[in-house]
């Protein structure tokens, strides 16, 4: 069951990612990227990490994707097609992929079976965040507040003289 689900999700995710990289219309590419995000979330669900999967949907589909489509909306006319393939980009992508592959294959720890852990409930994640990882959490909070204030300053109406 889970093998079949894995294969189906993997094919869908890879196809969506490929379409996102190659479709001529930018907006279609953006929505294919969203499908790829959802596929990643499905992987997390399959691995039993429900919380991570839900946050993946929440952050990437609910926020990042909206950001992407708004960027497209505000910068390009609807009719523009970005046809053709940039070969430099292809070479770069293959180089990055090869580097990652080399690093992953060279890592010995992947061969070791993972330690079994207790089921990862939302409550345990919350406890860990509020005890062991409180300082990283606070730093992220400060960073996000700074970003919020920066965004407000950018859009603030200039005072009329």
């Amino acid at each position: 069951m889970s093998t079949a689900a894995f294969i189906v999700i993997a094919i869908l995710t890879l196809a969506a990612a490929l379409a996102a990289a190659s479709l001529p219309k930018l907006i279609h590419a953006a929505f294919c990227l969203v499908v790829a995000f959802v596929g990643m979330a499905a992987f997390f669900f399959l691995l039993g990490a429900e919380f991570v999967g839900l946050v993946q949907v929440f952050v990437y589909v609910g926020a990042v994707a909206v950001l992407i489509v708004f960027t497209i909306l505000l910068t390009r006319p609807a009719s523009e097609n970005t046809g053709g393939i940039h070969w430099l980009g292809v070479v770069l992508a293959i180089a990055v992929f090869a580097g990652l592959l080399w690093a992953i294959l060279g890592t010995p720890s992947l061969a070791v079976a993972a330690q079994p852990i207790d089921p990862l409930t939302v409550k345990r994640i919350g406890e860990a965040l509020m005890t062991d990882y409180i300082w990283p959490l606070q730093c992220v909070g400060v960073l996000l507040t700074a970003a919020l204030i920066g965004g407000l300053i950018l859009v603030m109406e200039e005072r009329r003289r």
């Binding site: 069951m1 429900e50 929440f58 609807a78 409930t121």
Partner: protein, 397 residues
């Protein structure tokens, strides 16, 4: 005994149906079980959709002192059937310059996400279709994809009105998603779980000689959070007085301008399903889910109480639509950031105070104090002291 039988009748029916498959492999039973749940949710809510569409018109007509639909069937009750047939045989118009693909996917996606959110709500004892550990989070994760559907509709139509409507819709949905989640946090803090079943279970029992149920709406923080949640829910489902995205006097029908026939009906369906989902979540979080309001009324089946509470909330939705005029788009946004969000934070603090006073009377009064102080402080800050004189225009004489 009979009470329990009636209460669990749907659960037992499902087990009876699944026992027919007892020889089948495990995965087949799993899939059959899921399909049964989906069929039950869809059947129940499509019926409710048909019913509420005619009831809304009836109630609005009553408020506006006219008859409403009364030609098809007794009291116009078959109106949804006639509407459905009409929408099915209408011509499906797609603008020639539209992005065909996005124009087609948008209504499907919007309806699908609206149906997904209905899955995690407990409709009765042992009657949660999709019970996962992060149920409440699933609700918001599925709900947040609606924005993409609205954007697709606006962009795909290639129409200025559609795009403006979609941008308004996304602006207000993004703004109110935050208060919607912030007002849920006090409940999750007190219960200590994101599972919808656990939240309902935490509201079981009665105080004061079995007269007052332990629902969260009867605590000061719960009442404030419930009202804020309801307002945010009104905005998220684009209902009056927050229906600026489809304000027909300004931008035709917003992102739905270029849709006709059954695609338009899909948007309509999504709006109503969104309304059901938000009301259902409000019932689960604050109104005790499927628990009976008084202890001697517990013999009535649990799903009856859930749907009775849902019906009351839906009536309030319709009542508000018939009573209040539409807000201006900047007023909607300002209200979210200047009032609803700070009040939501106040609810979190009030819930914490209540919790650390051992849920007693002292905690009740302290949390009332916190909510009241923040409320009056915010009201004082929001007072504009604007003088209403003759209007001056910047670009016109």
């Amino acid at each position: 005994m009979t009470g329990e039988f009636v209460d669990q009748i749907f659960v037992m029916a499902k087990h009876r149906l699944l026992s027919l498959l007892s020889n089948a492999p495990d995965w087949m039973i799993q899939i059959a079980s899921s399909l049964l749940n989906i069929a039950a949710v869809l059947g129940a809510f499509l019926t409710l959709f048909a019913l509420i569409s005619v009831m809304e018109r009836k109630i609005l007509a009553r408020i506006q002192n006219r008859y409403g639909p009364n030609r098809v069937g007794p009291f116009g009750l078959f109106q949804p059937v006639a509407d459905g047939i009409k929408l099915l045989i209408k011509e499906d118009i797609v603008p020639i310059r539209a992005d065909k693909l996005l124009h087609f996917i948008a209504p499907v996606l919007i309806a699908a996400t609206a149906i997904l959110t209905l899955g995690v709500i407990p409709y009765g004892r042992n009657m949660t279709p999709f019970s996962i550990d992060g149920g409440i989070l699933f609700f918001f994760a599925a709900g947040s994809t609606t924005e993409l559907g609205v954007f697709m509709a606006g962009w795909g139509s290639n129409n200025k009105f559609s795009m403006l409507g979609a941008m308004r819709a996304i602006a207000q949905m993004v703004s109110y998603e935050l208060p919607l989640i912030i007002t849920v946090i006090p409940v999750i803090m007190i219960v200590g779980s994101l599972r919808a079943d656990a939240i309902v279970a935490a509201q079981e029992g009665y105080k004061v000689a079995g007269l007052v149920p332990r629902w969260f709406v009867f605590t000061p923080w719960g009442a404030a959070a419930f009202i804020l949640f309801f307002i945010s829910g009104l905005v998220e489902s684009n209902r009056t007085p927050f229906d600026v995205p489809e304000g027909e006097s300004e931008i035709v029908a917003g992102h739905m301008t270029e849709y006709s026939g059954f695609k338009y009906a899909n948007f309509f369906l999504a709006e109503y399903f969104g309304m059901f989902a938000v009301s259902g979540l409000a019932v689960t979080l604050f109104l005790g889910g499927w628990h009976a309001p008084l202890s001697f009324l517990q013999f009535i089946p649990s799903y009856f109480w859930f749907f009775a509470k849902l019906a009351v909330l839906l009536f309030v939705f319709i009542w508000i639509r018939g009573t209040l005029p539409r807000m201006r788009v900047d007023q909607v946004m300002g209200f979210a950031w200047k009032f609803v969000l700070p009040m939501g934070f106040a609810c979190i603090i009030a819930a914490a105070v209540w919790h650390y006073q051992a849920h007693g009377l002292a905690g009740w009064l302290w949390s009332l104090g916190v909510v009241a102080i923040v409320y009056f402080g915010l009201s004082r800050l929001m007072e504009t002291k604007k003088k209403f004189g003759p209007r001056t225009y910047r670009f016109a004489e």
